[in-house]
């Protein structure tokens, strides 16, 4: 095996440009003659737009144009769609309020754009935006999630602000199980609203060529083809073949850059309207107001156990906040990515979940790292830990009693998933050993002797990654397929250019995917180039979300490479005067079995493009594509353990240790996987201890900057102790499962289980701020 193949800690090739300042992010791109866009945003959470007077703004120095939602509508620009149709339990379709890119009649959250100013310089655009005079009729907003259905109706025709009322599972079986339960654990909690905050703000640079009617849109997208598809098919910006979307280097996404937003839509349209390249870059304040937020659930959850501690049933009722409009995939997050995960790692035979999704006058809520699965894990793992405490069973032991066992796979859960493989106890035992579980009581004594409280908490999470298969998802309402494309183009000299429809914005695909193809084709790592993020260079792709890239995108490259090998065998057989079936391929050499005749990969590649005497049925060239559509989700799982120390005087929680033992199946690059886990844990710990997106009663976002929204900083976190166990995925050719979200999924429950253990309270709201912890201790 090469030292840069699958399983090796290969240093990232993309780092060279990033550590020398040569990355090329959207805001780094400047086009000749470009003008700058600044959006005029609603100061009100809910208001009717009576008049917009842009006359002063239009006369301001440097202004190229001022445009409103009516201008876009008059030009045929349509509403931004939601890509997943969820049905309510009564069979009715979810309610979809129209979301014009720029608001036309009403504004429905603070920060919603309703006009755009285009000017020669950014300063001039900003100054002119302040001159747009708008007469609003303020309307009573709906801010509280708890009271959303009783509030004024936000959107015409959408009663009780309810988008859908969805359910999954066998309610009768659950009710029967609860009726005979020896113990019921019940919790009511919120899953706090988070604001993703990739450090690169969203941005767009758009240009339009009038003679060819072609757009080029550089934008901070996790999935440029999806952006193009939506802008072409639904928004009517341009025909798909006249629109090129390029996602250059993208500075983090965490889900928030999956979606199609008003700003890049309006900027691209304005490029055509003004016949100028148009650039827009969000400042951080705009990002806080207008990026899709995450989470924001209110949940009542119950777990029924028998006298032996066996889980009998689970009942979950959740109200999910969608914000003011349906963002691109918002509807799927609290349903198919949440309810389906409530079995966790356990054999709970009956589960029923109801999810009521509602609109409020807040920023749209959509997928954020983990997307539904952190919320599900929080429900399951807070319930299990609490049940253990209430019944006096060790929390590790209670989990052992209820784990799905290795010999029970494939395992069909009562909430519609079929787990293909796993070994949950293996990760638990490894994590227990790592944290020195037996030594915890002694560590607690040491803390207590120093006047501190110490707690330990578990989270045995499961996630479903690599959403699939397309057929099932489309039946369930998805508006897109869930495959991924890959192309392996062998150049005449034997080097390889790989095209992947998956997108890298920090995940290191340029390295990982080169390892995969290098390993598979036996060509040097340095000879494999990876191209992504440009609809002009790739056939199609669905981008990066849901920890899918290696499981789905990497598998597509394996399938395409298989085709390369198959064709290479035919070429080699022709050249070596043998039959293709007699040619073996190994480590970059085509060899005729039981002979000494062989050709290198490079020789075959050259012959493919300099085809001497090829038979009629053998085409020249060596380039193959694959669209890989997985048969099932993958199911990464693991055990996270948090240990915290609390100062009762100040309420400050210090995360002392965090152990994560994850089963991601096979691992392509352990260094990159560990990095993904670290980052996910930091975001999960952020949710548990620091982060909270808060609107005040009047509907203003009070956590609208890094001064008010508490991002995890280096001194808030310990070093993490991460390890893996391996049960290879059974249905993709790499045996991989995905690692991008595990930390964010597992960590919140582990940390809150540790905090509540330290405080000896049943529950505490996230984030466990010093104030909340201090108050809880005073009340205890």
């Amino acid at each position: 095996m090469s030292d840069q193949g699958i399983g090796q800690r290969v240093k990232r090739r993309e780092d060279v440009r990033f550590i020398t300042g040569k990355g090329r992010y959207t805001d780094d791109i400047n086009l000749p003659g470009q003008a700058y866009a600044v959006f005029v945003r609603s100061p009100h959470p809910r208001a009717r737009i009576k008049t917009i007077d842009a006359s002063a703004a239009r006369k301001a120095p440097g202004v190229v144009g001022v445009f409103t939602g009516k201008d876009l509508a008059a030009d045929g620009i349509g509403a931004l769609p939601c890509g997943w149709l969820v049905k309510s339990k009564d069979g009715s379709d979810m309610k979809v309020p129209p979301r014009p890119p720029l608001a036309i009649e009403t504004v429905n959250f603070v920060g919603e754009p309703y006009a755009v100013v285009i000017a020669e310089t950014l300063g001039q655009a900003r100054a002119a935006a302040a001159l747009v005079e708008t007469d609003f009729e303020e309307l009573e907003p709906v801010v509280s999630l708890a009271e959303a259905t009783a509030g004024p109706q936000i959107h015409e025709g959408i009663e009780a602000n309810r988008c859908y009322d969805w359910e999954l599972g066998d309610q009768a079986a659950v009710d029967a199980a609860f009726a005979k339960a020896a113990h019921v654990t019940k919790l009511e909690f919120a899953n706090n609203r988070l604001i993703p905050n990739a450090i690169e703000p969203r941005a767009a640079v758009a240009t339009y060529s009038a003679p060819t009617e072609e757009f080029t849109l550089y934008t901070t997208s996790q999935n440029p083809h999806l952006e193009r598809l939506i802008l072409a098919a639904f928004v009517n910006l341009a025909p798909e073949h006249k629109l090129r979307v390029i996602s250059p280097d993208v500075g983090g996404g965490f889900g928030s850059k999956i979606f199609v937003y008003p700003e890049e839509t309006a900027a691209a349209w304005a490029a055509r309207r003004t016949n100028r390249p148009v650039k827009w870059t969000a400042d951080r304040s705009e990002a806080f107001l207008s990026d899709a937020h995450g989470r924001d659930h209110l949940t009542t959850a119950e777990l029924a156990l028998d006298a032996a501690g066996t889980f009998l049933a689970m009942r979950v009722r959740t109200r999910a906040n969608l914000g003011a409009y349906l963002s691109t995939f918002a509807s799927s997050v609290p349903t198919y990515l949440y309810g389906t995960l409530l079995a966790g790692q356990y054999r709970t035979p009956a589960i029923h979940v109801e999810v009521e999704a509602v609109f409020t006058n807040t920023a749209p809520v959509d997928a954020y790292r983990g997307a539904g699965r952190p919320e599900a894990t929080y429900v399951v793992e807070r319930l299990v830990e609490t049940a253990a405490r209430e019944t006096g069973v060790d929390p590790a032991e209670l989990r052992r009693r209820n784990f799905i066992q290795p010999d029970q796979f494939p395992y069909e859960t009562p909430v519609a998933l079929v787990y293909d493989t796993g070994d949950y106890q293996a990760s638990l035992e490894k994590a227990l050993k790592q944290i020195d579980y037996a030594g915890f009581p002694a560590r607690r004594k040491v803390s207590e002797a120093a006047g501190k409280r110490r707690g330990l908490g578990f989270s045995c999470y499961i996630e479903a990654c690599g959403l699939a298969p397309s057929q099932l998802a489309i039946q369930l309402g998805a508006g897109v397929g869930l495959y991924e494309s890959g192309e392996v183009r062998v150049n005449p000299t034997g080097s390889v250019t790989v095209f992947t429809g998956s997108h890298s914005h920090g995940q290191g695909h340029e390295t990982t995917f080169a390892q995969i193809v290098s390993d598979k084709l036996g060509v040097p790592f340095e000879s494999v180039e990876v191209v992504h993020g440009d609809t002009g260079r790739l056939e199609f792709g669905l981008g990066t979300y849901g920890s899918r890239s290696v499981a789905v995108g990497g598998s597509a490259l394996i399938k395409a490479s298989d085709k390369i090998i198959a064709k290479g065998k035919r070429i080699a057989a022709h050249m070596l005067e043998s039959a293709p079936d007699d040619v073996d391929f190994d480590e970059g050499v085509f060899a005729v079995r039981k002979t000494n005749k062989s050709l290198t990969f490079g020789e075959v590649a050259f012959a493919a493009y300099v085809p001497a005497n090829f038979p009629e049925d053998l085409e020249p060239g060596l380039s193959e594509k694959s669209f890989y559509d997985p048969k099932n989700f993958t199911f990464p799982a693991g055990c996270h353990i948090a240990e915290v120390e609390v100062d009762p005087e100040t309420g400050v929680v210090v995360l002392v240790r965090f152990v994560a033992v994850d089963d991601f199946g096979e691992v392509i690059n352990p260094m990159i996987v560990e990095g993904q886990v670290h980052g996910g844990i930091a975001q999960g710990v952020g949710q548990a201890l620091l982060e909270h997106g808060i609107y005040d009663e009047s509907g203003q976002l009070v956590t609208g900057s890094f001064m008010d929204y508490c991002m995890p900083r280096a001194d808030d976190l310990p070093s993490f102790e991460v390890d893996t166990t391996v049960t290879p995925c059974t249905h993709n050719p790499l045996g991989v499962k995905g690692c991008g979200e595990a930390g964010a999924i597992g960590a919140p429950a582990a940390v809150m289980n540790a905090v509540t253990d330290a405080l000896r309270v049943k529950d505490l709201a996230m984030p466990a701020s010093p104030e909340r912890v201090w108050r809880a201790l005073q009340a205890a």
């Binding site: 240093k11 990232r12 993309e14 780092d15 060279v16 440009r17 990033f18 550590i19 020398t20 300042g21 040569k22 990355g23 090329r24 992010y25 805001d27 780094d28 300063g123 905050n197 990739a198 450090i199 690169e200 703000p201 280097d249 993208v250 500075g251 983090g252 965490f254 870059t281 400042d283 951080r284 304040s285 914005h505 920090g506 995940q507 290191g508 260094m671 990159i672 560990e674 990095g675 993904q676 670290h678 980052g679 996910g680 844990i681 930091a682 975001q683 900057s705 890094f706 001064m707 991002m711 995890p712 900083r713 280096a714 001194d715 976190l717 070093s719 993490f720 930390g743």
Partner: protein, 153 residues
Amino acid sequence: MKLSLTVNETAHELEVAPNALLVEIIRGDLGLTGTHVGCDTSQCGACTVEMDGRAVKSCTVLAGQAQDARVTTIEGLGAPGNLHPMQTAFQAHHALQCGFCTPGMIISAIDLVKRADGRLDEAAVREGLAGNLCRCTGYHNIVEAVLAAAGQM
């Protein structure tokens, strides 16, 4: 107003607006886009550059304050084949993912090592880098990289 400053060993004479920020000069006038802007409240540190021997957040420095200053941005630190030990350590320890915070993080880290005068441990690195936000790495590998580079600077 006129501004004279030296950036990455190159002297510049520029005509700038009185309210221009140093980061705007660096990214705009000089086209050095390795220095990034991640916030508007001086909280994230993505715009950190070295000015007259100290790390500064260039979004919080008026261009006029940089009169006659010597500024080093990430582009002036080292190029492939001749990298600064901190750049090498960031790659070796996988201390970056999306790369957006990286230039500011590297400049801050170098400043931290210089000021620490050989007395750096994990806690000091964590405290010293608290002015630079990273959303990708969880800081784990950044801390490792800084400690490793500190031994080689």
